[in-house]
Structure formats: C-alpha cells, structure tokens
Symmetry: C2
Subunit: 331 residues, 2 copies
C-alpha cells in the first residue's frame, strides 16, 4: 500500500478551503495553571455540521468533481456525524444523497441529515444499514462515501491538525479520538509530515477498545457486540484496512474509562464554554495520562472532534456533579 | 440626573480593551432560514469569567486607578457572575477583594470566585449578604463595586453592544436580558448613540417581571419574594435608581415564560455549539416575538450575556427534550 503524504493533506486543504470553516483554537488559563502545561483545543464542534467529518466528506466529493467524475448519487451509512457530513457535502455540489441510518439514531440527527437535503432510510439494525449501503453502492451511478476507510476521507480529516499546527506553531504532542481511525490517520500524516518528532496519541473507550487490542495483536480485531460507551463517535465495530496502517504509526493509544469521559465532558464544557461530545473528551484524559509522565512543560494540541449532543446524551452527561472535583495532573 | 453618553462607552472601551476579550459574533444559517431574518449573537459567554460582567467590573476599577483613587480593598455582593467578575477584576490590579455570597450559591461559582483570589464570606440569606456588604462599604478604604446601579458599571457593560455594532455594522434591533438593568442601560446608550433609530428591547422572566411592572407603573417596584425562574441572572429583586432612567428608553420589554427559556437554551446550545445561560436564552424569545410583527427582513443582534451553568442547572435545562420541535417564527 502506498501511504499518503503531507502533500495529500495540503491538496485536500486547498480543495475544501472555501467549503469548510477555519475553526477556532481555544485554551484555558485555569486548566493550564492546574496542569502545568500549555494545552490547546482545535474546536471542530464549530465546523460545518458540528464535527470534523465535514472535512473528509467535502474532500471526497470535491476530488471527484475536480477529476470530472461527478457522481449521480451519493450513498452512506451512519447513525451520527458522518450522516450529516455526507448530506451537507453532497448538497454543496447539488448531488442527491441517500443515507442509511439505524432506526435508533437520535431524531435530531435524522432531522439534521434531512434538513441538509438527503433522503434518509431507517433500518432495523446496524447490520441492515451496512447491508443496504453495500447493495446500493453496487448500483450504477451510486458513489459510496465511506465513513473512514478511504484515502480521500483520511486526507480530508488530516486538514484539521494541519490547520491547527500552522496557526499554533510546533507542538510536542497531538491527541485525537479513535472510532474507525480516519481522524487519527489524517492527523498522523499531517503531524509527522510537518515534524516527525511530534507525538500523535489516540484515545479510545475502554469499553470499545478494538483499536488498542488490534494494535497489540498486530491484526484487525472486531468488537463482539455493540459497545456500552458514552463516546458514541467511537462505537465503530473495527478499524479499516487502510486506517490500520496509519494507526500503527501512533505513539500510543489510551483506553479511557466511562467515568473519565463524563468528567472531562463536564469540565471542558465548563472551562471552554463550547459543546464537547463525550467522544472528544476522551482525548483530554489521554493527554492527562501522557502529561503526567513528562518531566518538562509541554505544549500540546487536542482535537475536539465534534459538538453534536442530543437531549438524552445531555442527561447522561450531567447526571452526577463532577465539577466539584478540580482537575489535576495526578489523581 | 446627567445621563451618560456614547463618549462614556467609548472611554470605557479604551480603558478595558487590554483586560477583556473581544468576544466573537456567531450566526446560524439554519436558524436564519427558519426565521426569515438575519440574527447575530454576541457571545459574552466567551468573555473573561464567562459573562459580560467582567466589562463593568474592569471599567470601575480601571477608572479609579486612572484617577489616582486605587482602593485598598474591594467588596461586592453576588451569588453569580458579578462575584467572579469583581474577584477577577480586582486581581488584575492586585487589589484584595471580599465577596459576600449567599451560602446557597453553587459551589462551582464560590470556587471560581476564590480561584480568582477573592476572599468569600458565605451568608445565610440574600438579605444578610446585602446588609454585610453595606456595612463593609462604610468602612474606611473599602470600595463597594455595585452589580448594576453605577455609572461606571453601566458604561462598561455598554461596550459589548458598541463592540458588536462596530463589527457588524448597523442593526435594526438589539436584545438583552434584564436583571438589575446594567447591561440594558449600557446597551441603550451605545446603540442610540450610534444610531437613534436602532430598537433596543429587553427580556425578563415572566416569573420575575419587576422591571416590566416598574416601567408600566413608572415607578420602581420590588419583587415580593425570591422568584422561581431558571434565568438565575435575572432574579434581582428590583432595578436601580440609575438603571431605571435608561430602561425607560427601551422600545419594549418582553416577559418570557419558563418553557420558552428552556426551549431556546436547548436550541441555541444545539445550533451555536456554545454554552448559553438560561438568562441569555430569554432574549431569543423576545426577538422571535418582535420579529413576527415585522413586515420586512430584519438584521438583529442578541447579546448572549453569559455561559456559566452548574450541573444542577444543566439537569433542569435538559430534563425534557425540546429539540424535536423545530424553531419557527410563528408558533
């Protein structure tokens, strides 16, 4: 397999520049004081559709357009941010789209997907969703925009880290969550392309740790069943054949417990005043675990992957008060 | 009474420029489409201490410094954002401060006030808090930084609207919430100073409608008891003798029911991906009520007063799902 290079990220960035938001970078003086390190947050919750997924979807379609291969129709399968990203990106090029979603997806996400102009097909299970999209993908004129296992998607997702490092200057380490591995793959390519010494570190739910286990086994393993985790953006059953090759280049992959996910979702919301998906909060715990092993002050970047949180999830996040226990590096 | 002028706002702006954040302005394409108007949000949740209150506190102390009247010690009474604002502003000038807070204030706000370096004194009731600060204010060397009934505070709060209009250009109307009336007073001075035709409209909880009733009676009325409202920044028992003179210049004051406060807190959080205090959400319902009477498309500004929300309040906000009912101009 020929690996993607920094040029692929730069090309993707140029391709999608006019479609996406250059998202802000935030920092918290209080958190930096408590941790003793400089921590920056790239706020992809402020991205189109509220998540980094807009980057990969936009890059995929823009690339096809550039090469005279405009699809007649785009299909995708997702219960979450990828559904909205594909619907939005397709609408930017006036291409009709159909998104296969599990019927248990939150109404607000189904609604949002529809409001971007996509047709939604609700399926009885995740398996049915996947079967349907594969069947649709085989039909003439349909383009399947995969949620992560695609070089165009990976290159698009990598533009978030590239944009952030260009603005911030070099950082010692970058942290991002792992679902199917698209964001982390793009982040590895961008970060190492700019500076091979930058550490790139992933965060995955302990309850959905297929990527960490796959890396230990040096072979892609699947989750046995739908995992029980608040990090709904990291429930993917396995990483992809393409993303796995990039995940092998990570410096570490931390497995995060549910309590820490709730803790940092509450605290980052409180400190930064932005919407933080539980999936994004995992990276902060990974950062804490890494930082406490460091002997000199570090400058790090955390990619806040998204901010789409429905009411049911809000109730799960805020059920217990975690804001009385101040963040500290070592607990 | 000699009324403040736009020059007082400009002077305040220059005075506090280096201390405060120039906060971002957000808009939602989806909301604008649904409403049929252009709606901009000045995000004071991204201000120092997470609320516009930092402006008035900073202006008060910076003015004293400028005039060689550095206080030996600053005192204030507040259960919320003003407490943190005074603690923060005093620390900027290395002045010790003591904040009298009701014991029922949320721990996270007491903690934040202390972390800015203030001494906090917890009192058994709001009345005791007020008595204590008045007694402390009479002591030699103590400066009482009032939460709203002060020209320096009003001029400081007015810099939010001034900054926003300078960035956005003229708007047809500006909306802000009413507690003691400091933010609205400053907003009236700034807006009318820049363009006398700009409508300035207040929003107050129906359950704490002392300002609306005072305006109807043309005389300051008090609430009978601590009001039952989610808009915790608008629970002030009465407006001030100074702020009342400016509130008389408002084009309207809408009284907002609790259901609408929850509805817009959920929807603005969802659409803008920022932390929205229930107090701030009131202004959006006032805007909707005003916009539905308009016959041509309008460009309006809503001041998001703050984003400090503790866990107990989050649970009250997200108890019921309001996100399945799409916003519309007329409901």
């Amino acid at each position: 397999m020929k690996l993607l290079k920094i040029e692929d990220i730069i090309n993707a960035g140029n391709r999608i520049e006019k479609l996406i938001n250059k998202t802000p970078i935030y920092t918290s003086a209080l958190l930096n004081k408590w941790m003793g390190h400089e921590i920056y947050f790239k706020a992809e919750c402020m991205q189109k559709v509220g998540a980094f997924k807009a980057r990969g979807a936009a890059n995929s379609i823009a690339f096809l357009m550039e090469n005279g291969k405009k699809p007649k129709h785009i299909v995708a399968n997702s219960s979450g941010n990828h559904a909205q990203a594909v619907a939005w990106a397709a609408s930017q090029f006036n291409i009709p789209s159909t998104i296969y979603m599990p019927a248990y997806s939150s109404k607000i996400k189904i609604q949002a997907t529809q409001s971007y102009g996509a047709k939604t097909v609700l399926c009885n299970s995740r398996v049915e969703t996947d079967d349907n999209v594969k069947s649709a993908a085989s039909e003439e004129g349909n383009y399947w925009l995969h949620p992560f296992n695609s070089e165009l998607v990976i290159a698009g997702q990598g533009t978030a880290a590239y944009e952030a490092i260009n603005e911030l200057g070099q950082v010692d380490a970058i942290f991002a969550p792992c679902g199917g591995g698209g964001l982390l793959s793009g982040t590895v390519i961008a970060s190492h392309g700019l500076n091979p010494k930058t550490r790139v570190i992933g965060a995955e739910p302990l309850n959905a740790n297929d990527a960490a286990r796959s890396l230990r086994a040096n072979s892609i393993l699947n989750l046995d069943s739908v995992p029980d985790t608040l990090a709904d953006g990291a429930m993917t059953m396995s990483v992809g054949s393409i993303t796995f090759e990039y995940l092998k280049k990570l410096d570490d992959m931390y497995e995060i417990d549910e309590q820490s996910i709730v803790y940092w979702t509450q605290w980052l919301t409180h400190l930064l005043k932005i919407s933080i998906e539980p999936t994004s909060a995992m990276s902060m715990e990974a950062a804490r675990l890494w930082l406490k092993k460091q002997t000199t002050p570090k400058k790090i970047l955390i990619i806040i992957s998204g901010g789409n949180i429905d009411q049911e999830m809000q109730m799960k996040i805020w059920k217990e008060n975690m804001l009385e226990q101040l963040p500290q590096l070592i607990n």
